[in-house]
């Protein structure tokens, strides 16, 4: 009877511990094939644009391609371990192939305008996202910062980019970037200004908590007096305010004197000792 219960509990325990690990361990096999196939297609296209392809590149690419096929077969057989091995191997061959292509230095003349456009599009997306985050923070924290000009600049930059006016788009992005910097600074200042009030509230709450802790420990010490005394004797490095009661007294003194920073240090030290 007891043995059965123990076995049951052991089984449940194993399930609890191993359940999530197993579910995380299986990668989505389709994702592996998708990544490897994309890499293969891209390199195939790059190689097709090279005039005299060195044998080494052809060989490396073929090895990577074969590994991708093997990955596909492993996925069909639902062989996770093998699929993973073939994926890593394929990606390793593709990386080496890509490095070799890079070293050939036969990169085609890039369309500079296209590169600029891509970069600026990315800048706009990045700035717009930062702007949205800062806007949300400003609203939540009741901080007044006008983002109207920022929105206009982002819109203008998008339009300029659509019309192929890269220099104008670049200017608008730069201005928008300055606004983001200003907004960030402004919000940082707001956070700093509010910190003393938050620190005061926190100190008061901690005093309340430690006060409760102190009264509980007093009750405990009355029933378990020898245990308390042993603890305080053995830990010679502890400060006098390791005891919640002493800490509360010290904190109250510091809070009354407006020395919140010092009170926070005391709380931190107390918490460190508690751990």
């Amino acid at each position: 009877m007891k043995a059965l219960a123990i076995i049951f509990l052991a089984l449940v325990g194993t399930l609890i511990i191993n359940g999530p690990i197993q579910s995380y361990a299986d990668p989505q096999l389709d994702a592996l094939l998708q990544i490897a196939t994309q890499a293969r297609e891209n390199l195939k296209m790059n190689i097709s644009q090279i005039n005299n392809v060195p044998d080494e590149i052809t060989r490396l690419f073929k090895q990577g391609s074969d590994e991708t096929d093997a990955l596909s077969n492993a996925i069909d057989k639902k062989d996770v371990v093998s699929a993973r091995q073939h994926f890593l191997s394929a990606m390793n061959f593709f990386k080496t192939t890509n490095d070799k292509i890079n070293s050939l230095n036969v990169t085609q003349v890039n369309n500079q305008q296209q590169t600029d456009t891509l970069q600026l599009q990315s800048e706009i997306t990045r700035l717009a996202k930062i702007g949205e985050t800062l806007k949300t923070i400003a609203i939540t924290n009741h901080a007044s910062f006008d983002f109207t000009q920022f929105d206009q600049l982002i819109q203008k930059a998008k339009q300029d980019l659509d019309n192929g006016n890269i220099s104008e788009a670049s200017k608008s992005i730069e201005e928008a970037n300055h606004i983001v910097i200003d907004a960030h600074q402004s919000l940082t200042n707001v956070a700093k200004q509010r910190t003393p009030d938050r620190a005061k509230d926190f100190t008061e709450k901690q005093i309340e908590r430690l006060d409760k802790m102190g009264s509980t420990s007093t009750q405990n010490s009355m029933t378990q007096a020898p245990k308390v005394s042993t603890t305080s004797k053995t830990s010679s490095n502890f400060t006098s305010y390791e005891n919640p009661k002493d800490t509360v007294a010290k904190l109250k003194k510091l809070a009354a004197a407006g020395k919140v920073d010092e009170a926070l240090k005391v709380i931190k030290s107390f918490e460190a000792h508690q751990k």
């Binding site: 009877m1 990668p27 890509n98 890079n102 800048e123 924290n141 919000l187 956070a191």
Partner: protein
């Protein structure tokens, strides 16, 4: 019936009762196990999911990091390890969205949590990405599972770990990776798919059609567009995409040329007035250029002679700063070639980078003590620092 009851021995009844009793005792154990199993899933969810780490990679090599974690609500502050040394736009909020004050020291931020139980940090860093030729490499070592959102038009060409998952979100690859060290190599904008090439050709065609309908002639743009179509038919999608974009910009140029010509012809001013006006304008422009040249001539040499500036060797800088990104090394090489100092505008011209991107690169090099920035005639003069200064 009566006979049967009489035949049944009493012991049989005992056995049955025993069995019922055993089952009754086991039932709560089994029930408790099931309850434990159900609860465990909630506990695992609560314990296992407080940490979130997301990386968003941008085309210019900047990574946006979002990190969420639980903190000790009884402690007044909490230390947060940051990914990268150059941290920009750091904002930390608590579970209610309240902005928290923080101090950054290299790759650690001390956040004044003051009772918060969860913190959410957002920041940008250029330190997680390096570039070699056309290939970008993202490298990170994380203690928890994380996700990476790659830029649009990017293709992974190398990966050191098996991903947990991958999905496409708004034409971008979102990859989930397990904890540990990982390296992802990718290329941006190289793969010309038939879809992107078709789109580019369609856009250029539409633009040219619009101009033609308003009477603007675009022979050069049309020729370029034909080239794009030819490449597309041959399966060279990447080239076709580039040519289509070039056709569109040519069409724009042709439109501007037509407009300027029509503006001049629409003016009914006599030719003599135009000639006189032109001479005056040219004279004024010449005077302005001369004046500017003189002023710039008088400033630049002064800077060099005043500081007795000797250009440091780029190789020495590379040796002292081996961790520099390849694109930063290119900038250092260019400054070195130009005698150790250049205006920021020259750098932008050379590397054809947007102002903000170049400014970030310059600030990065300044942080690394590789260069110093000096204001000269309202322009930024970028100077390589001497090796001994760099070493400090």
């Amino acid at each position: 019936m009566i006979a049967v009851q009489e035949v049944l021995p009493e012991g049989m009844l005992f056995v049955r009762i025993n069995c019922i009793l055993t089952t009754m005792v086991r039932a709560p154990v089994i029930a408790a196990c099931f309850v434990l199993l159900v609860l465990s899933s909630f506990v695992q969810y609560a314990v296992g999911s407080p940490k979130v780490l997301d990386f968003t990679i941008y085309t210019d090599g900047t990574t946006h990091v979002f990190y969420q974690t639980d903190v000790d609500s009884q402690s007044p502050d909490s230390a947060l390890n940051l990914y990268g040394n150059s941290i920009e736009n750091l904002v930390v909020q608590d579970e209610n969205g309240t902005l928290l004050s923080s101090r950054v020291n290299q790759s650690t931020a001390t956040v004044e949590t003051l009772g918060s139980s969860t913190i959410k940090a957002d920041y940008d860093t250029p330190d997680l990405i390096s570039k070699n030729g056309k290939t970008w490499t993202f490298h990170v070592n994380s203690t928890i599972d994380y996700s990476i959102l790659l830029p649009k038009n990017s293709v992974i060409v190398g990966m050191s770990v098996s991903p947990l998952n991958m999905q496409i979100v708004d034409d971008q690859s979102l990859i989930s990776l397990p904890s540990g060290s990982a390296e992802i190599n990718y290329i941006i904008g190289v793969l010309g798919t038939s879809q992107t090439a078709t789109l580019a050709i369609q856009k250029a065609q539409d633009f040219i059609n619009t101009l033609t309908s308003t009477g603007v002639k675009t022979p050069m743009a049309l020729a370029k567009l034909e080239e794009a179509k030819l490449d597309f038919n041959q399966g060279k999608y990447s080239d076709a995409e580039s040519l289509a974009a070039a056709a569109k910009s040519l069409a724009l140029q042709e439109q501007q040329t037509t407009n300027s010509v029509s503006n001049i012809s629409s003016d009914n001013l006599p030719i003599s007035v135009l000639i006189v006006g032109g001479i005056i304008a040219a004279g004024a422009a010449g005077f302005m250029i001369m004046k500017r040249k003189r002023s710039s001539n008088s400033i630049t040499p002064n800077v060099i002679t005043k500081n007795n500036y000797i250009a440091p060797d780029k190789e020495t800088i590379y040796k002292l700063k081996p961790e520099l990104r390849q694109d930063d090394k290119d900038i250092v090489a260019f400054i070195s070639e130009k005698g150790g100092q250049v205006f920021e505008s020259e750098l932008r011209k050379k590397f054809l980078m947007p102002r903000t991107t170049m400014w970030r690169a310059v600030k990065r090099l300044e942080r690394e003590d590789v260069i110093e920035i000096e204001k000269v005639d309202q322009q930024n003069l970028i100077k390589l620092r001497k090796p001994e200064e760099t070493e400090k």
